[in-house]
């Protein structure tokens, strides 16, 4: 009845992924079915020993959908994420959600392009599957330090997205190289109907500039430290450009985390 639920769920999978990430899958069928790509949950971070910080932590939905386990992919950064990564199968986790405004896929789009780096791929992963389900082709640029960090499978799942990988280790992730790649796409026959990004300030600025130049609509998922996660405390604001050009503080948890690509400001 209420769209946002405070619940506890059983951990059914908890395992490291690659060199830096950790996967958590939960048995929460109703929440999973109600979740949309781009939304997030606010997780209470207590490890099996009950230790963890006082506040919840926001985490993008990485896997969701009717009949699917609810999944998160996290980078261990501090106390909260460390407690989450220490959860074992069978332990319970308190979660609040689904929260926030997800990505919008417009009817009639035939092709989208996604540019991600780092844990931003968790946020955009479910969009690849949602697009595939609507018959929208997905092309993605995955940027990573080195091939070992790529996690293409974690990103694309069964969506059949066409992935181009770029790396710091061989220079292919440098802005000019990515710019050349994107221009070729935007000018070619496979010009996307919309672009999406998350996770890198540098790539965001590049995509914002090129999308404006080519007149392609875009969306970005932003992060900000959160208190309530529900829109009540105003600690998670970011400056967002209004249509009239003025800049206003919007709440990442309520008006976001997904914003118009051109409205977002660099951070």
């Amino acid at each position: 009845m209420h769209p946002v639920v405070e619940a506890t769920a059983r951990v059914v999978d908890s395992a490291p992924v690659g060199r830096r990430y950790h996967r958590l899958l939960l048995d929460a069928p109703e929440l999973s079915a109600a979740s949309r790509p781009g939304q997030f949950f606010h997780l209470l971070c207590r490890d099996g020993a009950g230790n963890g910080p006082y506040l919840r932590r926001p985490m993008s939905i990485w896997r969701c959908g009717p009949g699917r386990q609810l999944g998160f992919l996290l980078h261990v950064k501090g106390r909260g994420t460390a407690a989450l990564a220490a959860l074992r199968v069978g332990e319970r986790l308190s979660l609040l959600g689904p929260l926030g405004q997800g990505f919008r896929l417009e009817p009639g789009w035939r092709r989208i392009l996604i540019v991600v780096r780092g844990v931003g791929l968790a946020t955009l992963a479910p969009l690849t599957e949602a697009a595939a389900a609507q018959g929208i082709a997905v092309q993605a640029v995955l940027s990573a330090q080195a091939p070992e960090d790529l996690m293409a499978a974690e990103f694309a799942g069964d969506s059949g997205a066409a992935i181009t990988s770029v790396f710091d280790s061989d220079g292919s992730s440098a802005v000019p190289a990515v710019e050349a790649f994107l221009r070729a796409r935007f000018e070619g026959a496979d010009r996307p109907d919309a672009v999406f990004t998350c996770g890198s300030n540098r790539l965001f600025l590049l995509l914002q500039r090129l999308a404006a130049e080519y007149g392609i609509p875009g969306q970005i998922a932003l992060e900000q430290q959160m208190g309530c996660g529900l829109g009540m405390c105003f600690c998670c604001v970011r400056q967002i450009r209004a249509p009239d050009g003025t800049v206003q503080n919007l709440r990442v948890c309520a008006e976001g985390p997904v914003f118009d690509l051109q409205a977002a400001l660099a951070w």
């Binding site: 209420h2 405070e6 006082y54 919840r56 600690c235």
Partner: protein, 309 residues
């Protein structure tokens, strides 16, 4: 059946559980039915638009948080027109928290709220800086607190609650001063000033430096402030500070509060207020109290405080 109704300075509430200002919004209706609450309390409204403070605006501590949000908002005009339209969808009495930086501004805003349909009471957040006294909070001293309340009292007939600050040497004196100035209730207490330092960045964790400390860690202090105020005044005391469970709420009622507000706990558990409400009722039933208002003041020296009105 336990009678959960309470009276706060003439304002009847269906039950004594309500949110604390600044930690609540209509957004919580996404989680539960807000009509179950005894009252609704808005985040503080200021006469003019305010940008708010630099980020980070919140950081966590051992069993609590520090905040320095800076009361961002679109100002009173916008509130009375747009926000009120949304608040009127809910049944419980609406308490509008009001903040201003001069006595005159408090009075003018109170008059405006009194003319706005749907406002059941004003909670005067006098813990904010007073520009006429060098930025010291109104609630720091009895005379400035009383001046703000007296001016609002003269400007409107709405029930008027004064929200007091822990950052004072003698909160009982402040409570007595606002009672004399015409307050119908005291809300005890706002956050206490605190600090946290990021030792890697070697700077305060909050963008603004110091912040207001709240949450379970703050509870013993807030409870003491309620206990002191309940012995100092005859108007009802509304207890707030660190309440996260029904047991916490019972402590506040027994210390002399007639109602309670839940703030920070809602960030960790958005259902906290419902749990407090259900647990209060269960406590009364188990211990044989017919009315929740019978708990008020039970632990005061000589049980001096009668049940609220």
């Amino acid at each position: 059946m336990v009678n959960m109704a309470v009276q706060i300075g003439g304002l009847p509430l269906a039950n004594p559980v309500m949110p604390a200002s600044g930690t609540f919004g209509p957004e919580l209706a996404q989680v539960f039915d807000l009509n179950r609450l005894g009252a609704l309390v808005t985040k503080s409204v200021t006469p003019q638009y305010r940008e708010g403070n630099p980020l980070p605006r919140l950081c966590e501590t051992e069993a609590g948080v520090l905040n320095s949000i800076g009361i961002p908002g679109k100002g009173l005009d916008h509130f009375c027109v747009h926000a009120m339209a949304e608040w009127r969808r809910f049944a419980p009495p609406l308490v509008v928290s009001l903040s201003a930086d001069s006595v005159a501004a408090f009075a003018e805003a109170a008059a405006r709220l009194a003319g706005t349909p749907g406002v059941a009471a004003i909670e005067a957040n006098i813990s904010c800086p007073n520009l006429e006294e060098d930025g010291r909070a109104f609630a720091m001293h009895p005379h400035s607190a009383a001046a703000a309340i007296a001016a609002m009292r003269a400007a409107c007939t709405l029930p008027l609650w004064a929200k007091l600050s822990p950052n004072t040497a003698d909160i009982a004196a402040v409570a007595r001063a606002v009672e004399e100035a015409g307050a119908d209730a005291v809300v005890v207490a706002n956050t206490i000033l605190g600090l946290a330092i990021d030792i890697e960045r070697m700077a305060p964790k909050l963008g603004a430096g110091m912040g207001g400390f709240s949450g379970p860690a703050f509870k013993p202090i807030a409870l003491r402030l309620v206990w002191q105020c309940a012995q100092a005044v005859r108007i009802p005391v509304i207890g707030v500070g660190g309440i996260a469970s029904a047991e916490d709420a019972v402590e506040f009622l027994m210390a002399g509060a007639s109602a309670v507000q839940v703030g920070t706990a809602s960030f960790v558990s958005p259902n906290a207020m419902l749990n407090v409400l259900d647990g209060l009722q269960a406590f009364c039933a188990r211990r044989g109290f017919a009315r929740v208002s019978d708990l008020t003041g039970l632990a005061l020296p000589g049980r001096m405080r009668p049940a609220a009105e």
